[in-house]
Amino acid sequence: MSAARRLGAEPSRITRGLILGVVGAVFAIPIIAMIQFTFRNGLGGDNTLDHWTGLVGEDAARTYRGLLQAVGNSVVLAIVTVGIVLVLLLPTMILVHLQFPKLRRVLEFICIVPITVPAIVLVVGLAPVYGIVVRVFGSGAWTLAFAYGITVLPYAYRAIQSNLDAVPVVTLSEAARSLGAGWPTVLRLVLLPNLRRGVLAASFISVAVVLGEFTIASLLNRNNLQTALLQVSQSDPYAAVIFALLALTVVFGLLLLIGRLGAPRNRRTE
């Protein structure tokens, strides 16, 4: 039996190229279509830059004020959601990993559950809760971050957990403690630098999820990037697609940053 046919053998160059081509096409075709659409001049068939240039200037600022406000809301939501992940989820996961390993399955179950619940079902459950949230915190768009904190749990959990599994967290923290470090110092100087990749991945994936979220915001009557894009698309579909492309670019950029910033210092300096 030849090596190429052996089960589990590395695929041939052609197979690799084919897989890459198909996966690439799945991503690229809609994006190329969106880009092409933004240059289309109505149904005439010719191309124009007017849709892009129309987004610049005072008139545009007035026209798209709601959208800009929604972008601001989404940025705030992304920051608060990441804050929730970093302040609540990360320390909890580290604590469970170090001190209560038997609870790991329970924590995993709790964190994965939201992915199995459709957003619409989540909203039905969250609606009465938000009645209380509004009374306590007001009706600001940022309060959606409490719901987003739940929706991003599966992604953030996976990103952090894979990093926790890859690093000998227990040994490193015990070594640091034997050298005189208290728990806050262990966390700051030893664990976080080694969990940087997982933490950044969790943060950026959370940002990506928040920037792309529509259902919860729409059903809870909050204004975010996606709900504003929908509104804009009803009056100017070209502008909506252009803003969607820009949002996509920002998210892609963020995800690429994970690879750069997330690489540990010892690898980057090689």
């Binding site: 000998p168 034997s178 005189g180 010892n266």
Partner: protein, 355 residues
């Protein structure tokens, strides 16, 4: 490689360490069963025993990484049983590589000094000196993944020693290394420990390692210390069959206890350990206490192995019990040869035998 001058990074003398009736349980399993251990300042004590005997738990209790259920852990006269690890002023080297991966070797060594708020200049100097002590001055700027296993453990040793801890705890630090590096580093640990005079507790399951480096060896079994003594004492006068079996090689030979003396194949031997009533026993006899002879106990050669400076041959007696003997390499018995053995009559430990 330099040695550490007293008063620079060396500890003048180590601390006295005492474990008094220390008990530690994990659920229903009692890992430490009211263990008592006294270690003199500057002494190198090895905790030796099979897996699950409680040696690592004892070390972790001493370090504070495991809190004990009851008992006292006294370092220099102060009970530290309730003191957290980071306040105990200990140095520890772990079995698995524990260097901080995001720091260079010298930054790792500096870490403990940083925690003690030593000024940056002094910190760097002392860390460099410690790395020099373990022969890794040239590797200061390397990250852990750029170092071999042996080098990583040397850095870990420098990191543990640079803070001048009162006690150095070594938790099987050589077990992940290959045989040659293990022997080199073992000797180096002993050299540095002797130079610094630091009280050291070394956990290992390798009896050769323990006997080679320690001033005293505590053989542990089921959460208790079975016997503690110098390597020579443990080897020559094991008080229990377990120790005789665990420390060095022992032949189990059926014998009888007559008037308090062990008699096997007509040879009388002094009984080590607790006295027993007369009756059938199994005697634990060292290979070097059995010799090849021109007449005596008849046996058949089963295997013969060349061990460098000597040869070890295993023979089967008429009752089918197997006996190992050590002899000159020039004598080369062949499989199936009939040979004769002579017991030298050295003192032995024994356990009651049910017939």
């Amino acid at each position: 490689m330099t040695s550490i001058a007293p008063g620079t990074t060396a500890t003048a003398t180590g601390a006295a360490v005492e474990l008094e009736a220390v008990v530690k349980s994990f659920g229903t399993h009692r890992a430490l069963n009211a263990i008592d251990l006294t270690i003199k300042p500057g002494e190198f004590v090895a905790l030796l025993g099979p897996s699950g005997c409680g040696k690592t738990t004892a070390l972790r209790a001493l370090s504070g990484l495991e809190l004990v259920d009851s008992g006292r852990i006294v370092i220099d006269g102060v009970d530290v049983a309730a003191v957290p690890t980071n306040k105990r002023d200990i140095g520890m080297v772990f079995q698995s590589y524990s260097l901080f991966p995001h720091m260079t070797a010298i930054e790792n060594v500096e870490f403990g000094l940083r925690m003690r708020k030593v000024a940056a200049g002094e910190r760097r100097g002392r860390a460099a000196e410690a790395l020099d002590m373990v022969g890794l001055a040239a590797f200061a700027e390397r990250f852990s993944h750029q170092l071999s296993g042996g080098q990583q453990q040397r850095v870990a040793l420098a990191r543990a020693l640079v803070t001048r801890p009162r006690v150095l705890l070594l938790d099987e630090p050589l077990s992940a290394l290959d045989a040659k590096v293990r022997v080199q580093l073992r000797d180096e640990i002993r050299r540095i420990q002797t130079e610094l005079g630091i009280t050291t507790v070394f956990v290992t399951h390798d009896q050769e390692e323990a006997l080679a480096v320690a001033d005293r060896v505590a053989v542990m079994r089921d959460g208790a210390i079975e016997q503690i003594g110098t390597p020579e004492e443990l080897y020559a006068t094991p008080r229990t069959p377990f120790v005789a079996d665990f420390v060095g090689l022992s032949n189990r030979i059926p014998a009888d206890l007559i008037d308090g003396r062990v008699v096997a194949h007509g040879v009388g031997m002094e009984l080590l350990g607790e006295p027993m009533d007369d009756g059938p026993v199994t005697a634990y006899i060292r290979p070097e206490d059995v010799a090849l002879a021109s007449e005596g106990i008849r046996a058949t050669v089963v295997t013969s192995s060349f061990l460098g400076s000597l040869r070890r041959t295993q023979v089967a007696l008429s009752d089918e019990s197997l006996v190992s003997i050590q002899h000159d390499v020039d004598v080369r018995p062949q499989l199936g040869d009939v040979v004769f053995l002579r017991l030298k009559g050295a003192a032995v430990s024994a356990v009651r035998r049910t017939t």
